[in-house]
């Protein structure tokens, strides 16, 4: 674990003092969910620059076992890396839509600390679009990561 990740863990753990702890059970810390959303939003916001697309902050959003409709962590990071390379060489690249997360709620944690994140995804480029969604997250050493639906099959 590098220094930045250690620092991140300390911050997150302090926000998770009410966490029922490793080993499962309910997980209801609003502060922890907000902290995760803050990390996600900071990473998403950094996509406005080429360097943001390949930042460690982005990588640290995803658990090593992340799998979502066939997308692994490696695939996600490689795709971002490819976008960064293309953006650097082609200013007219239509970078993907960006969004922010609001109203995060984490619940239904299982024995493996895999929980459900319910939140609202918002794009405000011109006309505000917001949609509620849910996805799986995992808590490792007090830090929340995207975990994905663990499906290797694209559903759309």
């Amino acid at each position: 674990m590098n220094l930045s990740r250690t620092s991140l863990s300390i911050i997150v753990v302090s926000a998770l003092m009410t966490l029922s702890g490793c080993g499962g059970g309910s997980y209801s810390s609003a502060a922890a969910a907000d902290t995760f959303a803050t990390r996600v939003n900071a990473a998403y916001a950094s996509f406005a620059s080429v360097s943001g697309l390949t930042s460690t902050a982005v990588a640290e959003l995803f658990d090593a076992k992340y799998l979502d409709m066939s997308f692994t962590k490696t695939i996600v990071l490689d795709a971002l890396k490819a976008s960064a390379a293309a953006l650097g060489n082609t200013p007219e690249l239509s970078l993907f839509p960006l969004a922010q997360i609001t109203s995060p709620v984490i619940s239904n944690c299982d024995a493996n600390n895999v929980c459900t994140l319910n939140a609202t995804l918002v794009n405000s480029d011109a006309d505000t679009t917001s949609v509620e969604f849910s996805t799986k997250v995992i808590i490792v050493s007090g830090v929340i990561y995207f975990y994905g639906d663990q499906s290797s099959t694209p559903s759309i």
Binding site: E92, L121, N123
Partner: protein, 718 residues
């Protein structure tokens, strides 16, 4: 005429034109505009190709405009009579008419507006000096002397340039301002070397929302004088003393007649002013003229372009793909699409497409329409896809081409010939200046942008269609939901999706190689009934045991059609540039149906909205996606094939221009309410005329381009 002869001349024409076609007009590639830079817009409905008695229509201008923008509620309208000349005064008020039984929708009592003061076709007696069938000569204060030019017939015909400039424009502007809708003048040009082109030169016209001093249609009138095949006036527009030469068009200017100051003649054998391909050259010169005089407020859109058959260098008939390429190369900001969903959809042979349209052995290309659309756009992988496969800005439009209602009167709801503008077909065009500032300029910008769709029978009345680069850092289901919601929101507002990293119709998305895309679609299948006067079950659907009122169609499915883009073909590459329908030059073999959405895989939302999306994984090459949809399931007998492609309408309806006898139709119209005017052969009533049109409904979207970095540049759009 042998095919060999045509191809030889076509090749010669293309070769001769190489020096004239400016390939430098190809636009610089750029990504879709950023969302924040796009003004909010709205899709508005309109029609740009219809006729009054100033050419071969049956109505006054006022009545045609009233039907279009009031009865059928179009947001904008272009009055576009044929060029040439005519004897009738279309600016007069309408005749009351004689209804034809059973006169659906009309009061037929002696106390109503109709009998006893009605007149059959042809209007009131000349002595009344009333009605749009009266002649200019009999109704102008100075009579014959007020008609300019050198005509000798009685009554004397007026050149269309005079009608437009001195009479029709004022009516159009008055109607526009009174009704507070953009209504302006165009011309359906009798194109030299071809059949017809829907044109507008807006410059000078001041339709609503402009106010104050009246504008003029002088440039539109001049265009008609200079470039309409049937305008034989040589007077330079009398006191106007027009000159039709185009700056820096040396080769063509050399052909300008010293007296008429325009290119005279058209396609024909070497005789007089005519010569092989002379007309096509003159047509190209007309586009250059528009580009010089009104580059941002003109358009040039070939009409019913398959109807007259393939191109003939010594006659004035149809269009091959090389002519469309020539038009677009000459001025892509003006020649940017075609009316491949023609008017005349209630006629005996749908769209008037048929065998022998141009005389014995000269069939419409494709013979008939296909689900009401010409084969150039209806055949997947055909002419339209070949043009899109070059990355051209070449868009799909529909028109009503209203002339008359066949055996019925103008206020009757049945028709054996045409539908009114807005009654059956509509063009839905994005206007960014918004509903509170709708303008003719904004509508032409919208037509040019490709951000439009067209359809029949109100099958759908709203569409949001967007392709976006997938954001890999957002969980896939959440990202899909976000885009579907954006599309749904856009449909609710009759607007478009405005999100960075997305492109809509007429735009291109520039993506990294290997990127995933998400295509999101929302449509509204309007609830209630359309304008069909019939509520009996759709006879085409009845064949497959679906009972659906003819006036309440339901969208059955949407096809997502995609193909690869391989770049512009050079005019010097004759084998790839020029060819007939079905040839390699007129085909895109990469095109196919990529996805089918129906009730099994779309989400139904309130108000008839259907929402859907799908992912295109790891794009490697530049490509495009477009949509079509219909009320007919795949494999509906005589209507659609197993893949859902529309079948030839000419084979479905009874027709009697075959070799010896009337050929029965294929789909019976045996409901008790099926109207009396259906073709009845050997006691069997067949789906035909307007019923055949209302039975078979389609919509087509314009494409979204996807340009993959390090693949082919898509030059025709941004």
């Amino acid at each position: 005429m042998s095919k060999q002869f045509n191809l030889r001349h076509t090749a010669l024409a293309v070769s001769a034109l190489v020096g004239l076609i400016s390939v430098a007009t190809v636009q610089t590639a750029a990504a879709a505009d950023k969302a924040k830079t796009k003004a909010a817009g709205t899709y508005v409905t309109g029609d740009f190709h219809n006729h009054s008695t100033c050419s071969d229509g049956s109505l006054s201008m006022k009545k045609l405009i009233d039907k279009s923008v009031k009865t059928y509620g179009l947001d904008w309208f272009v009055q576009a009579d044929h060029g040439g000349s005519s004897a009738r005064n279309c600016t007069l008020s309408e005749d009351p008419f004689e209804p034809v039984a059973p006169a659906l929708g009309l009061t037929n009592s002696a106390t109503g507006p109709y009998p006893p003061a009605t007149f059959p076709s042809g209007g009131q007696p000349a002595a009344t000096l009333k009605g749009p069938n009266q002649s200019w000569e009999s109704t102008l204060p100075g009579g014959r002397a007020d008609i300019k030019g050198d005509g000798t017939a009685t009554p004397k015909a007026m050149w269309r340039w005079q009608e437009i400039k001195e009479f029709q424009y004022k009516v159009t502007e008055d109607e526009s301002r009174a009704r507070q809708k953009p209504i302006w003048m165009g011309v359906e040009q009798n194109a030299p070397g071809h059949e017809h082109i829907s044109t507008t030169v807006l410059q000078g016209q001041k339709p609503w929302p402009q106010a104050g001093v009246m504008g003029n249609a002088t440039l539109q009138a001049q265009y008609e004088y200079c470039f309409d095949r049937n305008d034989g006036d040589t007077s330079r527009g009398a006191e106007n003393q027009w000159d039709c030469s185009v700056t820096a068009s040396a080769n063509a200017n050399a052909l300008v007649d010293p007296t008429a100051r325009k290119i005279r003649g058209t396609n024909g054998a070497e005789a007089g002013f005519n010569a092989p391909d002379r007309g096509h050259l003159k047509s190209l010169e007309g586009i250059r003229w528009m580009n010089e005089k009104a580059p941002t407020t003109s358009y040039y859109i070939p009409a019913h372009l398959e109807r007259a058959g393939k191109y003939d260098p010594i006659a004035n008939r149809g269009f091959n793909i090389e002519h469309l390429r020539n038009f677009n190369n000459t001025a892509p900001n003006i020649a940017f699409g075609f009316e491949s969903m023609p008017g005349h959809q209630a006629s005996a042979t749908r769209g008037e497409y048929r065998a022998g349209f141009g005389g014995p052995g000269i069939d419409s290309v494709g013979v008939g329409t296909y689900g009401g659309t010409g084969i150039y756009a209806a055949r997947i992988g055909g002419v339209w896809d070949a043009l899109l496969g070059e990355g051209r800005n070449w868009w799909f439009f529909a028109s009503s081409d209203y002339h008359n209602r066949g055996q019925f009167g103008p206020d009757q709801r049945e028709s054996t010939q045409d539908f009114y503008p807005g009654e059956y077909q509509k063009d839905y065009v994005m206007v960014r200046r918004g509903t509170n500032n709708l303008s003719a300029e904004g509508i032409i910008d919208g037509l040019r942008s490709g951000n439009s769709f067209a359809g029949s029978g109100d099958l759908i009345d709203r569409l949001a269609f967007v392709a976006c680069t997938a954001n890999p850092a957002i969980p896939a289901a959440a990202f899909k939901s976000l885009l579907e919601k954006a599309a749904s929101n856009a449909v609710a507002k009759n607007a478009e999706v405005r999100i960075d990293g997305c492109a809509t119709m007429g735009e291109k998305l520039v993506v990294a190689p290997g990127a995933d895309l998400v295509v999101a679609i929302a449509v509204r299948d309007p609830e209630g009934t359309n304008n069909a006067p019939y509520s009996f079950p759709n006879p085409s659907l009845k064949q497959i045991n679906i009972s659906q009122p003819l006036n309440a169609p339901v969208l059955d499915h949407i096809d997502v059609i995609g193909g690869n883009v391989t770049g512009y073909v050079s005019p010097t590459d004759t084998s790839k540039y020029a060819g007939l329908e079905g040839s390699a030059a007129a085909s895109n073999s990469s095109t196919g149906i990529k996805k089918v959405f129906s009730r099994t895989n779309w989400t139904v939302a309130a108000g008839g909205v259907r929402v859907m999306s799908y992912r295109i994984p790891a794009v490697k090459v530049s490509q495009y996606v477009r949509l079509r949809g219909t009320n007919l399931p795949a494999a509906t007998p005589f209507e659609t094939d197993a893949n859902g492609n529309p079948l030839n309408d000419y084979d479905l309806i009874p027709q009697d221009d075959g070799v010896t006898a009337t050929i029965p139709g294929k789909v019976k119209c045996d409901d008790a309410a099926c109207p009396a005017h259906m073709r009845t052969i050997n006691g069997v009533k067949y789906s035909s005329f307007d019923v055949a049109g209302w039975s078979d409904l389609w919509f087509y979207s314009n494409p979204i381009y996807i340009e993959v970095i390090n693949s082919v540049k898509i030059a025709g759009t941004k």
